[in-house]
Symmetry: C2
Subunit: 373 residues, 2 copies
């Protein structure tokens, strides 16, 4: 018995896109789906009700951060992450690998695991495949990610190969640690950088573990988008057709659309929430820097055609005032809008997919948004 399962509702006839339902212990998720990021057991500025109103059915939270503060054992005593943060829909936790490897000189990698210094207090810490899974078991997330090494870009062939092979060995240790459970499902992560044969090798090693879902890691790490799309072109078909496919760290509208058309079901990214707090709104007609002086006297909504709470009730001028005055409501209103925008984009993609109009949707969207095609 597995904690999550995927139902493919429809496959697009012209692209590799799929419409699906992901069944989890905390609700059914329509895919393709975008997952807002709640790093420290909260999606920055938002309440759970606001997330639900924005249409979020699953969020991502970070093992590394929760492990260090408040500590996974505390969250276990609280009854798990869902209860701790008052979120009763699905949660995916990453493994901490990405954050730990980003620490640079502050970490030391061996085959066994990674020793590192906490960015909070410099204390010595340790994560391994086993430990990362233990932490995620304490958190009680619906989807548990394997502890991988996110290969940086650019990487030599030799480094990328070594890194992908270790990721595969670690994935097996993760699977052996997360015993069969109907509460939590393990996703493996395919690495291999931008090398086709390494991606093939990695996909083979990871899918061999017969996990309930697979992620593509090591993309959106600085490479040109065309390179990312090319990697998706040859990597996605290597993943099991009947399991969810998750592209990690992607959240720009163009990449979401291109990813869906290449057969991706799940995405996450801090982009919409981070740029919101910097005063940049996403709209169908491109980005708007609300902090700019030109909006000081603009009493229209961020996007007059948008149905979000922010656009229904507040003007650009008011939001700009809040941002300039360092008022928290400004950050909230911006975040609500950007999350609504991306989650709504996914809903529109699902609709276009159902109607076999994905390419038309893409063309219109790219034109409106101002992307090159």
């Amino acid at each position: 018995m597995t904690a999550i399962s995927m139902e493919i509702i429809k496959k697009d006839t012209k692209t590799k896109a799929r419409l699906g339902k992901l069944y989890t212990p905390h609700g059914v998720i329509e895919t393709p789906v975008f997952m807002p990021v709640g790093t420290q057991a909260t999606v920055k500025t938002m309440s759970p009700e606001e997330l639900q109103e924005a249409g979020a059915t699953i969020i991502l939270s970070n093992t590394y951060h929760l492990f260090l503060r408040p500590g996974h054992e505390l969250i276990a005593r609280a009854g798990g992450l869902h209860k701790f943060m008052n979120w009763d829909r699905a949660i995916l936790t990453d493994s901490g690998g990405f954050q730990v490897f980003s620490l640079g000189d502050l970490r030391k990698i061996t085959e066994e695991g990674v020793e590192f210094r906490s960015h909070l207090d410099g204390s010595k810490q340790y994560l391994s495949p086993e430990k990362a899974i233990e932490v995620q078991i304490s958190l009680g997330s619906d989807i548990v990610m394997a502890f991988d090494e996110c290969t940086p870009y650019p990487a030599t062939y030799e480094y990328a190969k070594k890194s992908a092979e270790r990721t595969a060995r670690w994935a097996k240790r993760c699977r052996d640690t997360l015993k069969t459970t109907d509460k939590q499902a393990l996703f493996g992560i395919v690495q291999g950088s931008m090398y086709k044969d390494l991606r093939r090798e990695s996909a083979g090693q990871i899918t061999e573990l017969d996990l309930p879902g697979y992620a593509i890691g090591g993309l959106s790490v600085g490479e040109p988008k065309e390179v990312m799309y090319e990697v998706l072109d040859y990597t996605v078909p290597l993943l099991s057709e009947d399991r969810p496919r998750y592209l990690m760290g992607v959240g720009s509208p163009d990449a979401l659309i291109e990813g869906v058309m290449r057969g991706i079901d799940m995405f996450d990214c801090v982009l919409p929430t981070r740029i919101a707090r910097n005063g940049t709104a996403m709209t169908r007609f491109g980005k708007i820097v609300i902090r700019n002086a030109e909006y000081a006297d603009d009493f229209t909504p961020i996007d007059p055609s948008c149905n979000c709470y922010t656009c229904k009730n507040y003007s650009r001028a008011y939001i700009r005032h809040l941002l300039k005055a360092d008022e928290i409501l400004g950050l909230r209103l911006m975040t609500i809008h950007n999350l609504h925008f991306l989650i709504n984009l996914m809903a529109e993609l699902r609709k276009a997919l159902a109607e076999e109009k994905l390419s038309e949707y893409r063309q219109k969207f790219f034109q409106d948004y101002g992307y090159e095609m």
Copy 2:
């Protein structure tokens, strides 16, 4: 025709407390009432819906801050402050006097008005009784406060006398500026520091203007609470029985209770929202510093008997985690709780008043809270 009017529902037989209804262009307010402070056209961290859920029927906003940023003319172009900030209940605006006088060396007072430097950019600015009213007309607040000099504490008799007399002359200029309107009502402010005969003189001069409401200023400025209560004892009876009485800048639970028992109908204070953001929760059993380590593993609500959104859904441990991790949701949850606490305290006072049980209520509250009696 006047914009606001007061209906006295019941007078307590044992104290000077009154139960009333204040009719405004933006709803009926049950008094005694506590007004949350929304300095910069937002009650810090809160949405209008959250304020309503906390039971707020009227908020205070600051003329000084809005005059400087975003500017009252911009707010007028937005259709007024209610529309600008999406708040359709009542708004009281102060006159800016208190903030301007607090600037110390940065301001120069003459009989005509006050020249000062903006705390934002050092620019030269000017407020006078006429200007302060013009600004508040642009804002469109339901209750407009006269431009007064808030006498600092301690003040010599001579200074306090000069200051109160100027406040009276300025109040007349304010009344002459705010033409009769059914949209906005002017409140006068009684000064006189801690001198009984000056308070009497000031009350006489201000009530002579026949305004729809009166405030007591120059209290809660550093004097011992007993002194404040004594001033209230002899000043409140000098104010018109049929008009609302507003004690400015008071928001500690004990002072709210003592104020109500001395016949005050309206209060405002930044205290509950400010200490919330510092991590201090108000409860019926006294203050709780949620940031303290002792709450790290405490999975009970801030106050198990509290009905607010925060206490119904979150633990002390979670809120502490959010505060320690600098997460905005922590500030929101704390603010919701503290505002609910004070607004609920006022509702309980109204109930006790209706049942002629004010003294019993006070005794029990002081005992539970840990106040000296």
